[in-house]
């Protein structure tokens, strides 16, 4: 082994050491076989979803509300899959494949809105409530406990009535799903952040901050809160999956987005109810499978990451692995020594 190649591999090791500290990558590196399978599968579903959503206009053969081909001829109704319509057409005469692809955009927007909104409200609320306690804290806890037991969908229905009055364009439809999700998820972020912050605020490093004369808010947001966000990513994955699910459920109940405003899978599934009774499969199966893939992606990813973080599910490394680790550590040390010498 020459010292140059040693130094090079050492540099690579340095890059790797830094990479490994990044979220997601660290989780993958620390995972065992099954966990890694969960994380990688979930992540690839999510990436696929985001890519399809971003490039839907290029991927989709037609527009989501297009009823006529380029030649001006109207699409047939409930046509079986063919070369012209790879996944057939709906009872209104839309191209199913195009609507499924365009639908991923609507779903992605729902995920973004439906995750950001509850976090922006729930996390600071939980932090303040957990840090200052007092009567307001008691009230908030009681309210969040009450909402916790309430059926999500019923709340979503009530909220969507408030926002869109039931019939909706794209933004009112998305917003009602997002606000409905917020009502359900604010209490969840609130709970975990509140518990962690109130535990942390009696710990040494937070008290040290206060002793050094920092203000309460500074200590809360610089010391306590960053350390209290451990469980937030797991809720985010559940929240993201639920965003897709809630949007689709509302759409299925007839509270969705008009087909001309945006493609939305729940609406398409609602319209496919009659087709299913007549034995037509493509109008129902395609949007349904799209929903499953996305929600599954978030679920598997969340479960994998959660598993890695849970010490109980961590496998003890085998003796062989431990020995190997020691060897590489020694190798790196001697490599560093060699580098010094070369200088």
């Amino acid at each position: 082994m020459t010292s140059i190649s040693n130094a090079k591999s050492n540099d690579q090791a340095g890059v790797w050491q830094r990479l490994i500290k990044l979220p997601i990558i660290r989780e993958i590196a620390e995972s065992n076989g099954a966990q890694r399978g969960l994380i990688v599968t979930g992540l690839s579903f999510i990436v696929l979803f985001v890519l399809v959503a971003l490039f839907a206009p290029l991927l989709a053969p037609y527009g989501f509300a297009q009823l006529k081909g380029a030649d001006g001829a109207t699409f047939g109704v409930l046509e079986a899959p063919s070369a012209v319509h790879p996944l057939g057409t709906t009872s209104t005469g839309y191209d199913v494949l195009s609507r499924v692809l365009w639908g991923s955009r609507t779903a992605l927007l729902a995920v973004c809105l439906g995750v950001v909104l509850p976090i922006v409200i729930g996390v600071p609320l939980g932090a303040l409530s957990g840090y200052f306690r007092g009567p307001l804290d008691k009230v908030l806890v009681t309210i969040s406990d009450a909402i916790y037991v309430f059926p999500t969908l019923l709340l979503a229905i009530v909220v969507s009535l408030v926002i869109s009055g039931g019939q909706a364009g794209m933004w009112p439809g998305l917003l009602s799903a997002a606000v409905a999700l917020s009502v359900v998820y604010i209490p969840q972020y609130f709970r975990v952040v509140r518990t962690e912050v109130s535990r942390l605020s009696s710990e040494g490093f937070v008290e040290a901050g206060r002793a050094m004369g920092a203000g309460d808010l500074w200590v809360l947001f610089h010391e306590a809160l960053p350390n209290a966000l451990r469980t937030v990513p797991l809720i985010m994955t559940l929240n993201a999956g639920d965003a897709v699910m809630t949007l689709a459920s509302l759409g299925f109940l007839g509270f969705g987005i008009e087909p001309t405003a945006a493609a939305e899978w729940g609406y398409d599934l609602n319209k496919s109810m009659n087709d299913v009774s007549n034995g037509v499969w493509w109008t129902a199966i395609c949007p349904g499978v799209a929903i499953i893939i996305i929600v599954l992606g978030f679920t598997l990813f969340g479960e994998g990451v959660n598993d890695v973080a849970d010490p109980r599910s961590r496998k003890a490394p085998s003796i062989a692995k431990l020995l190997k680790r020691e060897q590489t550590a020694r190798g790196a040390a001697s490599g560093a020594a060699a580098k010094e010498e070369a200088k």
Binding site: V149, P151, T152, G166, F252, L253
Partner: protein, 362 residues
Amino acid sequence: MKSSNAKSGDVKVAKTSGLSGRAAELLRYALIRILLIIPTALILVTLVFFLMRLVGDPITAALGGRLSADKLAQMKHAAGYDRPVIVQYFEYLGQLVRGDFGVTFSDNRPVLDIFRQNGTATLELGIFAIIIAALIGVPLGIVAAVHKDHWQDIVLRVFSAISYATPIFFLGLVFKLVFGSWMGMLPISGRASSDTALTLTSAQGATGLYLLDAISLGSAPMTLDVLRHAVLPAVSLGLITGGVFIRLVRSQMVSTLASDYTLAGRARGIREKTIHKRFALRPALGPILTVAGLQIAMILGGAVLTETTFDWHGLGYELAQYLSNHDFTAVQGIVVLMAIIVSVVNCVIDILVAINDPRIRS
């Protein structure tokens, strides 16, 4: 499942008939827990009421655009919707306390009547679904926990993840397609054939639970008809809920199986089977019951979708109908009623858990 149920039953008998001190302790816990329903229900009722009032009043919602502004204002005044919201709120609370959940706007039906006529359908569907979910979830959850990180566990985890990711109405549509339209094996809508439904509802002393009514009439074909109609909706709802049960039972069993007392039991040479049942499942039952109780809320929400998919005329189906008619008094009444049901069920579950686990009572 069966044996553990029987056991918790034994414990209940022993506790209540045995030491009176423990019985009193349990009773006090139950009373406090029952009183706690009030704030929970009040918060939910308040939330729903004010959210609904943000939309505007029910009359404008139902008839807005179809009537002149004058006529609307007149109707609003007659119904009292032009008064301050806070006054209406307390009036509404007063009505609820007297057991008056309001009258629907579109067809003048008292909400309690909807509850009486359609509630049993939802109850029946919910019971079927819970039974199926428990039959799937508890044994498979135990299998997953015992074979943790082996192929059985991985297969089951993937299964429960897929069942979580599947919209219940989509599963219902697939079932309708495969077993109804393609194979023609099972009916795909309604609770019974129309003549059966007619006989059952007009029968004397009908409970509204079709299966029970059909059995008490002693008619085998009718019982079969009711069961055949129930298969697809109940299995859809049950499968989805069962996936949650698998995860739940698995995670609880994994921690009890790893505990010191399980290790001690193994060291004493107790058979693995006995360890699973006595040492691992029993202590896991409390948390399982608690979360299962929370699933009641999910089942009620899922029932709205399942009932819409299968034309199952329960509370959820009615709710969806009134929603599309923009009948907000009906929606508010049904949602508030469901909120109260959920609070009561959770209370019952908590008390059951306390019976099983003495530590909670003190």
